[in-house]
Amino acid sequence: MRVPAKGWPQVAGGGRVGGVKRVFLLALRDLRLEVRDRSGLLSVLAFFAVMLFIMALALGPEEGPLRRAAPGVLWVALAFGSTLLSTRAFALEVEENTLDDLLLAPGGKEWIYFGKLLFQMLLLLPLALLSLFMAAGLFYLPLERLLSLFLTLALGVLGYASVATFYAGLLSRLRGREVLLPLLLFSLVVPVVLASVRATLGLVEGLPLGEVAPWWQLLLVFDVVYLTASALLFPLVMEG
């Protein structure tokens, strides 16, 4: 076999591919498609920057209210970004009519869900980190507890993205998904966002970790429940 050009991953063509490898390959392919559009991370980032920027402007120059508002703004931005990305993850397939081909691949259908989710997390996590830094600059957000903050972001984003991906898949065959999606989505994820906002606020205001931990536990519970439920339901809603 010819040596693959341009960084083709040495996985394909190498015999029977396991479920996990398939998941990674799908996420990788979607990332590649995203990058080819030259609109991946960079532009979602720009979108975040703009949102944070407008809110910082609108909420006025004083430090106190800005800092208090920061977690809310951050999470609304993240939620919106996640919604955009999950819609895109399936819009890729729907616009090209390629979803059928994915569904006809042998084996279960969970791998599609996990691949799309992974794709989203791979984009969202660096994004969340960056928007944290932006918020630090624009909203006087203290960054001393960066690790805890990032843990909160990761937990919250996972919870959000797992439901968002599920719904995006579900609605991918309906038109009008860009606006229909939030409707269904938000009713389920408002608890996640609220818990995340509370945890972030606690960290920003310097509460001891002991007081923040319950929120983390709550987020973890949400993550586990949403993730398992979505993964189990996904094959059911995609078939037939």
Binding site: D37, R38, S39, L42, S43, A46, A56, L57, P61
Partner: protein, 236 residues
């Protein structure tokens, strides 16, 4: 036969190296730059700010040349849309790029100036905000160019941004009048033609402005040429 003639004409219209005028602008600009800086350092200190005010001689010409560059982009974008000749687009592109550099200079020197005078590098004050937005418009201009593969659509789209985005120039310029705040209002008010400035300072400022203009002209001609060469490579 016709093809050969056309190629010749294109060659004539698109030289491979900068012409004499470009070199004159660039050389003169670079030569006079130290003179301008000397004049700036020799200018009398400001009543309120002392020697700190000397940042002004970079800050103000930088900002104005940025404005000018974006205006040229605006103009040539319009020309491109009406004439559909890629040459206009290349000038617009070059001017936007140089404009970003000059505006960047104004932003950086402004921030350096802000630190000692206002105590912070940055605040959300109208002039600063509108200037930052102006900067962002032309960053967007280049991101858009990067996102479109088809050369003609790319030029048209960029021209549209170059035209629509220009509205931020008057907004940035007038922002100190509309929202009175920290940043100082015009000493040389282009809208009324009034000048409130010490003649010695004015001389130094105007000289620097002249030098910057020379540099701008040289760089734009140079950059347009580079763009022409890039275009030709893309087409080959």
């Amino acid at each position: 036969m016709l093809g050969a003639v056309e190629v010749k004409m294109l060659k004539a219209a698109q030289p491979d190296r900068p012409d004499a005028l470009t070199w004159v602008f660039l050389g003169l600009g670079l030569l006079l730059l130290p003179v301008g800086l000397y004049l700036a350092l020799a200018a009398p200190p400001d009543v309120n700010q002392g020697y700190l005010a000397r940042i002004m001689y970079l800050h103000v010409p930088g900002a104005w040349l940025g404005y000018l560059a974006f205006f040229v982009t605006f103009l040539y974008s319009l020309l491109y849309l009406f004439r559909q000749d890629p040459r206009y687009d290349r000038v617009a592109l070059a001017s936007a790029e140089i404009g970003l550099v000059f505006m960047g200079l104004a932003l950086v020197t402004g921030m350096l100036w802000a630190r000692p005078t206002w105590g912070v590098y940055w605040t959300w004050e109208p002039r600063l905000t509108t200037t930052a937005i102006l900067f962002a418009v032309y960053v967007g201009y280049f991101l858009l160019r990067g996102a479109i593969e088809d050369p003609e659509l790319r030029r048209k789209a960029a021209a549209a941004v170059g035209i629509l985005g220009f509205i931020n120039v008057p907004i940035s310029y007038l922002s100190v009048k509309w929202w009175r705040s920290l940043h100082q209002t015009q000493s040389i008010d282009l809208t009324t033609g009034k000048i409130h400035m010490d003649p010695a300072m004015l001389q130094a400022l105007l000289f620097n402005l002249f030098v910057f203009t020379l540099l701008y002209l040289g760089f734009v001609r140079f950059r347009s040429l580079l763009a022409a060469i890039e275009d030709r490579q893309e087409e080959a």
